[in-house]
Symmetry: C2
Subunit: 131 residues, 2 copies
């Protein structure tokens, strides 16, 4: 699992959720996968500043928490596809609300567009590439 927080006496479901997705990269990973399954390498390309080690870690934790499905194909070179589980899909609308909240609460911040699309349209990956 994500974080431990063993000494956090408030072992409630909200703390659990934060332990699972409240970190640097996981919401982005879930976002990217909300449009369908994706290979390890593609995820790494779309989040260029994450290291492979950390990416592996995040994907493992998300898988352990039941948010991701990992499909490994017996090919050479290897191919591994990651996709969202039902659990994760159920979380997407709430993530959307979190993102809506920030847009409303901090209008001055002019965020980049988020990559969860309500309508299944492809996100604008282009601006991910900019240095």
């Amino acid at each position: 699992m994500a974080r431990k927080y063993i000494d956090n006496p408030n072992a409630c479901s909200l703390v659990h959720t934060m332990n699972i997705i409240g970190n640097k990269w996981k919401p982005i990973i879930l976002y990217l996968l909300s449009n369908g399954s994706m290979r390890f390498g593609m995820l790494n390309t779309l989040i260029p500043t994450i290291s492979k080690k950390v990416m592996t870690n995040q994907l493992k934790e998300l898988e352990n928490d039941g948010l991701l499905l990992r499909q490994s194909f017996a090919e050479i070179p290897p191919r591994v596809e990651y996709s969202l589980t039902e659990k994760a899909v159920g979380l997407l609308p709430v993530l959307k609300l979190l993102s809506d909240w920030a847009n409303e609460a901090y209008p001055e911040m002019d965020f980049e567009q988020c990559r969860i699309m309500e309508n299944g349209k492809k996100p604008a990956y282009n601006n991910v590439y900019k240095k």
Copy 2:
């Protein structure tokens, strides 16, 4: 602000939200304050495993991010009251959804009751005290 994550190219509003509330203690602090303002010492009593330094820090960050109002009274001994801003109040329903999500997605985990009450009832602080 909470975290920096300057090198996270996905500077979208969801990442921003996570930077603000996605850590060990802040959701709990917001929960506790959802029933009305509270003094520093009371917060510390209700979250007995947090250190004063960290509590101070979290409260400052939440204040800087516009989620908390800090009222200091010129009394001896000092009295400081913290309360939620409108921004924070707008976040509460989403926190509720996050907590609902975990309850549904992980029914086997049997979480403690969360301390955001839909109806303004006082949360059961008792079970916070247990070691």
